[in-house]
Symmetry: D2
Subunit: 354 residues, 4 copies
Amino acid sequence: MAFNSFGNLLQLTTFGESHGIAIGGVIDGFPAGMNVDFEAIQNELDRRKPGQSAIVTQRKEPDTVQFLSGIFEGVTTGASIGFQIQNTNQKSKDYSHNTNVYRPSHADYTYDKKYETRDYRGGGRTSARETANWVVAGALAKQLISHININAFTSSVGDIFIDKPYQDLDFTKTDSNIVRCPDEAIAEKMIAKIKDIKKQGDTIGGTITCVAQNVPVGLGEPIFHKLHAELGKAMLSINAVKGFEFGSGFCGAKMQGSEHNDVFTKDGKTETNLSGGIQGGISNGMDIYFRVAFKPVATIMQKQQTIDSDGNLTEIHGKGRHDPCVVPRAIPIVEALTALVLADFYLLDRTRRV
Amino acid sequence: MAFNSFGNLLQLTTFGESHGIAIGGVIDGFPAGMNVDFEAIQNELDRRKPGQSAIVTQRKEPDTVQFLSGIFEGVTTGASIGFQIQNTNQKSKDYSHNTNVYRPSHADYTYDKKYETRDYRGGGRTSARETANWVVAGALAKQLISHININAFTSSVGDIFIDKPYQDLDFTKTDSNIVRCPDEAIAEKMIAKIKDIKKQGDTIGGTITCVAQNVPVGLGEPIFHKLHAELGKAMLSINAVKGFEFGSGFCGAKMQGSEHNDVFTKDGKTETNLSGGIQGGISNGMDIYFRVAFKPVATIMQKQQTIDSDGNLTEIHGKGRHDPCVVPRAIPIVEALTALVLADFYLLDRTRRV
Amino acid sequence: MAFNSFGNLLQLTTFGESHGIAIGGVIDGFPAGMNVDFEAIQNELDRRKPGQSAIVTQRKEPDTVQFLSGIFEGVTTGASIGFQIQNTNQKSKDYSHNTNVYRPSHADYTYDKKYETRDYRGGGRTSARETANWVVAGALAKQLISHININAFTSSVGDIFIDKPYQDLDFTKTDSNIVRCPDEAIAEKMIAKIKDIKKQGDTIGGTITCVAQNVPVGLGEPIFHKLHAELGKAMLSINAVKGFEFGSGFCGAKMQGSEHNDVFTKDGKTETNLSGGIQGGISNGMDIYFRVAFKPVATIMQKQQTIDSDGNLTEIHGKGRHDPCVVPRAIPIVEALTALVLADFYLLDRTRRV
Amino acid sequence: MAFNSFGNLLQLTTFGESHGIAIGGVIDGFPAGMNVDFEAIQNELDRRKPGQSAIVTQRKEPDTVQFLSGIFEGVTTGASIGFQIQNTNQKSKDYSHNTNVYRPSHADYTYDKKYETRDYRGGGRTSARETANWVVAGALAKQLISHININAFTSSVGDIFIDKPYQDLDFTKTDSNIVRCPDEAIAEKMIAKIKDIKKQGDTIGGTITCVAQNVPVGLGEPIFHKLHAELGKAMLSINAVKGFEFGSGFCGAKMQGSEHNDVFTKDGKTETNLSGGIQGGISNGMDIYFRVAFKPVATIMQKQQTIDSDGNLTEIHGKGRHDPCVVPRAIPIVEALTALVLADFYLLDRTRRV
């Protein structure tokens, strides 16, 4: 029961604060014998890193991962995989004004009350910098289950939505634009929106849709480790996430059984897929798809009322370099956690029949 | 790493199929010294039990829980609490026609493929009968954290929604009507809707909203055991659930930071509560609220095309006694899991400061 | 992290007090598709049950296990296996004199101090009756790894020791005598010794040796789940156990490397086996053997000084029906836990290579 | 379920091979608010480090720990504590002759068979270098439970034993000699013995006794997390350990109940302490003491027959710088793991009463 661990058999345990020396983690249960594609891992980190485009934070962090163990001559050995990412560009003084002041809708207040002490520099342990660790582990997991295709993309920014079903999208276009929306016309509108919001010193929310294809039948473990429940928990662990739905989701709650049921075809597939590829917590071989809601980033470049740790009313004005919209950089994070969940269940499934 | 276990320090492990001898479980980590209110536990089971009204399944199951250990002379001893509920009214022959046929949008197909064997009677392990176990454990957890008020209610059936904020509702009215909606005018419409759907041999989805009040500041454990992530995982474990959102939820994804941030007041509370009582995965003392989407029950009293285990196309027609809408009976289940999550974090929090 | 759970992937969670309604448990992670030999399970329970011979407790408990789930038409389904054993012959009044008095070298005092409440009837949760649950789960595990032979036997009673290496013993003779020692001449001496001790109203300790043969190479998981460490933990969980050694054990601590090292032969086997079949925490294909020390049973039919819960000095005299020597009935317990550990690692090993 | 994790609520997860870049770990569940004494941690590492005296390996490793997170301005924050120790003095070429050859009584063969790949440099993951990680975590744990005194010492080397009960020893003398035996006359003999063995190019085994004093009543969690079972598992995780006994241990197996029982005195203490401070898996407030058997180090400076990975017979001759007796350097390791186990149960115990 570790608070900083994720996964069952394939388990990631992490450490690190945004302004400490380094962040990193230990991956346990990774099977031996896999040739590691290090470039692919760095590519995923680059998709997440700050400063990559005009619509994300302008911080410059190279985010280079260093593997410390568990990989020998390019091959996983079955030993735990230790890794770290140095923090090279932290500007702690950007946060010196926050020492004592609770930023609205951040975790400053709750951490202070819970732990009675707090690393106030850049959010400390609460910083989304932590998610770089997840991307490293997820990139390894992707290589383990390379037969499964995982594609996340930006499905909305504010009230600008993709209005096509995902089947009509070309996922190879996702990374062709800086907002990571495969519908290029919509992508332009999203980018314009974010630029406008940024100019206002404000931030905006959005949603990410993720599709996993070519998933074998049988992944997922009832009763309390249903595949969608683990995916939901994973997504709700990402900073700023407020909601998760899979298959028909909240729309399904308005429907009747006669229209919602997925009728089988002869080959064991289903005509429709409102189930979202999961029945009874176990993958059924159809596409798994789900949607994740992100609130707007809490740090805004505007003046806000707040209190300090003594309970005095005061004002705060965002400084530092922050994302106007978290969604474009969250795409690789969503994919990484999806890969970790699927890889975990993929290994577990080997033990479920005599 | 048990597939049938829920919780971290306070852990429920369950067993049982709908048509076996009994269902039950073991509660581990329950602290010693609590006087058990057995009547309160039975009351919660009665809220969940079949046959309680005209709009739920007409199966008759008394659902009487028998405690086998861990409670001595009415007081918890710190030993594991074993309990069981006999299955008294199973009509296995209702299911004999399903031996070989996969019910659409049920877990028959996925279980058969995963395990290569299956208890086909009434869904076996996949049956929502399992949730009676959760209600037992949740009722005990409620007593452990009796200072916290947990109220779930039906917030929509199909496209009939409560249109008031929860603050305007009187939770004491939730159980005054059979659909468990505290807005009595809306409740009547919902009941009429479900009766109509039932007459069609069809089923309908809905949503449940749950509010936890008087939660102390500091419950929840980052990074991978955030309070809302554990609540989300719990809710997504309930049969038929397709989505989870807390605080501003999916609406928050359309908002700007300047309107979404919850500004602090002098006492450490916030003026608004779009955060839903949780910041950085830790409770902040404001109301925790979330919403859960349930799909329509998959068993309908209509003819549907499907396949058998040999891949032959065939037809199926629902038999047995099923719920036209799962939401009214799911209210105590949502509350039970909420209580388990909060009680778990309540105990854990005792260990987080020197 | 459940206190009443044992195992990693194959996990047993138990409940029950000696004088409650029933004891039982839940087995999680047992693979689907195994034909269960129920008679073999009952046979193991019969080897452990009280009243089976003149040198064990004369309590009569039929100890019939009832499976409640997870097995359908004689085959495991992959669902959690619930089971229970009714307590039919508890004589709580035998213990009524103990309500308030701490039996020396029992857990009465520590439970009372830790939990501030206690089921004082027959030891409650601390009773070795719990081990019947382990025998049930172990008997199932034995069937899962039926290619591995597990043989435990009584290697000493008091200062009467088998003086042969285990290789010279015929394990088929273990159950041919009531003390379960495969050396029949020594067995007679042990039996005489126990009868004599019993006549004195006293009790005596002993050791059990266990040998696992035909174990595949590769079971065990470094760093903190070494095969011998898990076996040791398992054995130290048995009531009355005071020590564990494997391979050369404590004798190895007196030896030099040049005499202790096991030299390889061409086929990957070793000429000697002071390693006890485990190197670096992983089985090497040679016989695994270890020895477990049991203290004398604490309940004696003699007068002893003690205190009550108010701290008053008082006297206690054992009543009830107790074992003069725990070792003969502990043989199936040692085997059961060994089977559980090996079966757990057997399943885990399937996940350790790509 | 992580193979490289130790502990329940207070959990250490580690990584690292002896000849990689660094070893290190993550400590999870450490409570917030403790002032860290960094010097005390380094002192413990220095007690374990190679090259500290004439009777241990002459490798020079500074073993400086660097904390990467979880400690802010000298105080624990409740966040996970990441740390690492650089590998500065690895001489991989010392091991180049082992690439393909299985060292007798090492884990080369079992790792190769299990993982089908192996970091052969200096034992890789199987190296006792890993225990430096444990010393770091244990040193922090010691500070958390500073009211408990933990003293381990060398109780035998080969057949040279301390012949006094531990109560007659002065633990302040343990570190006054290089073999860490508090009986100075015996220490001299042990040192002479080890020097002689070293001269022969051989190695020798030994035992360590550990005493924990001032332990509060109530630590330990039945049924499967008994205090002595967790201590035993911890000790059996240390490289080269072959046995564990606590209290009367294997001697207890020869005794009668009337002589073995610990009679209570008025204050809840016991006249004798054959129980070793633990009854029913829970500390009773008396001294906890146990003994750990270490086999002789497997690497000897003598020629031995062995095989290579192709099954060819060959010879091997130890090179590199190895310990002739592992016991003196294992003292801080035994203490560290004892501290981790006790600190874990100390935190858990806060949750066991309402």
